[in-house]
């Protein structure tokens, strides 16, 4: 028995099955990301007033790299344009152009993920260090001449681990000074100054990872979940561009619908980033 309306629109709704299905799925996704955005906002508004890192649990500002975030936003906007042009190319019966646009979309997706992993790597080697005298330092650390790396989870340092490994001193490449809004001051007093810090003076140290501050916990949770969506979308669109494209010969109408449904998902993923970028990077 053939399932009806797999590619023809139902006369009463004007929609084919997959389009109803993807919108139901996207509705559940909106609830998922909506809950996470709400968590972010509630954590932020209930954070103590003050300037992080001077006040331990105040909400940090200006920790994320805005040029990189903006570039990634441009990459995702470009990918949304190319995915819709790929769909339009199929509508105009131009399969070769469809494939070119689809390949560009997938390349944009992997460029986004590559840039995001570069940002993650930076955060895993970036530390906040609290000293005995109450001062707090932030910057990239160097232990025994090595920088901690993103993929090596055992390469994360704490005061206890430094003591255990009998490390007496670490180097800290200090962050530039920031004002209360998180903007980098034009000429700070210790731009990229490298300081040696005795381990015996350190009360607490933690990398810019989820365990250190609620900001990093919610930042990594939302961006990693978004990244998984980007990866999933890229795999599906890549499948449509190559192995799945043989349907274009057997059932072009259903193939066009598949591209539309994939494009709807891709637009949703990009729209999440359009909201995520200002909330996490700018505000």
């Amino acid at each position: 028995m053939e399932i009806p309306y797999t590619y023809k629109a139902r006369p009463d709704t004007g929609l084919y099955n997959a389009k109803v299905g993807i919108w139901l799925f996207l509705a559940s996704e909106i609830m998922l990301f909506g809950a996470l955005f709400s968590a972010y906002i509630l954590l932020r508004v209930s954070a103590p007033v003050g300037f992080w890192p001077d006040v331990a649990l105040a909400w940090p500002r200006g920790l994320l790299n805005i040029p990189i975030g903006t570039f990634n936003t441009a990459v995702l906007i470009t990918s949304s344009v190319t995915v819709v042009l790929a769909w339009a190319a199929l509508k105009m019966n131009n399969f070769a152009r469809f494939r070119v646009y689809m390949v560009i979309t997938v390349l944009c997706a992997f460029a986004f993920l590559g840039i995001k992993s570069f940002e993650y790597n930076d955060k895993f080697s970036h530390y906040v260090i609290r000293l005995q005298d109450g001062k707090a330092l932030t910057g990239h650390i160097e232990v025994d001449g090595k920088h901690p790396r993103f993929w090596n989870f055992s390469d994360q340092w704490s005061v206890a681990k430094l003591a255990e490994q009998k490390v007496a001193k670490i180097k800290v490449e200090m962050d530039p000074e920031r004002d209360v809004h998180g903007h980098v001051k034009a000429h700070g007093s210790h731009d990229h100054e490298v300081r040696e810090v005795a381990v015996s003076d350190i009360v607490f140290m933690g990398s810019y990872t989820p365990a250190t501050h609620p900001f990093f916990a919610v930042y990594f949770l939302i961006t990693a979940l978004h990244g998984l969506h980007v990866l999933g979308g890229a795999l599906v669109l890549g499948y449509f561009a190559f192995p799945g494209a043989k349907m274009w010969k057997s059932n072009p109408e259903q193939f066009i619908n598949r591209i539309e449904v994939g494009g709807l998902f891709w637009h949703f993923v990009d729209l999440v980033w359009i909201f995520l970028f200002p909330v996490v990077y700018l505000l």
Binding site: G14, L15, K19, W23, I66, P67, T70, T73, A74, I77, S80, V81, V84, W87, A88, K91, D179, H181, H183, V184, K185, A186, E260, G263, L264, H267, F268, D270, L271, I274, F275, F277, P278, L282
Partner: protein, 68 residues
């Protein structure tokens, strides 16, 4: 809602984001007097114009495709 309609929503959201980024950068420039922020603000403002032009082009190109 078809991909065409969702794309229009997406482009509109992108325009709002870029306008916000432009304003945010301009305020940061006023506070810090760093020319980087001013350049950033101008780039974001020009991308607003670019996105609006693209949106009109897109609507013209796909005028025969339904919004449903």
């Amino acid at each position: 809602m078809s991909l065409k309609a969702f794309h229009i929503v997406f482009v509109a959201a992108s325009v709002i984001l870029m306008a916000f980024l432009s304003g945010w950068s301009f305020l940061a420039y006023q506070e810090t007097h760093s020319t980087e922020y001013l350049v950033w603000s101008l780039c974001a403002a020009s991308s607003v114009v670019g996105l609006v032009i693209y949106g009109r082009f897109f609507l013209r190109k796909l005028r025969n495709i339904s919004f449903l």
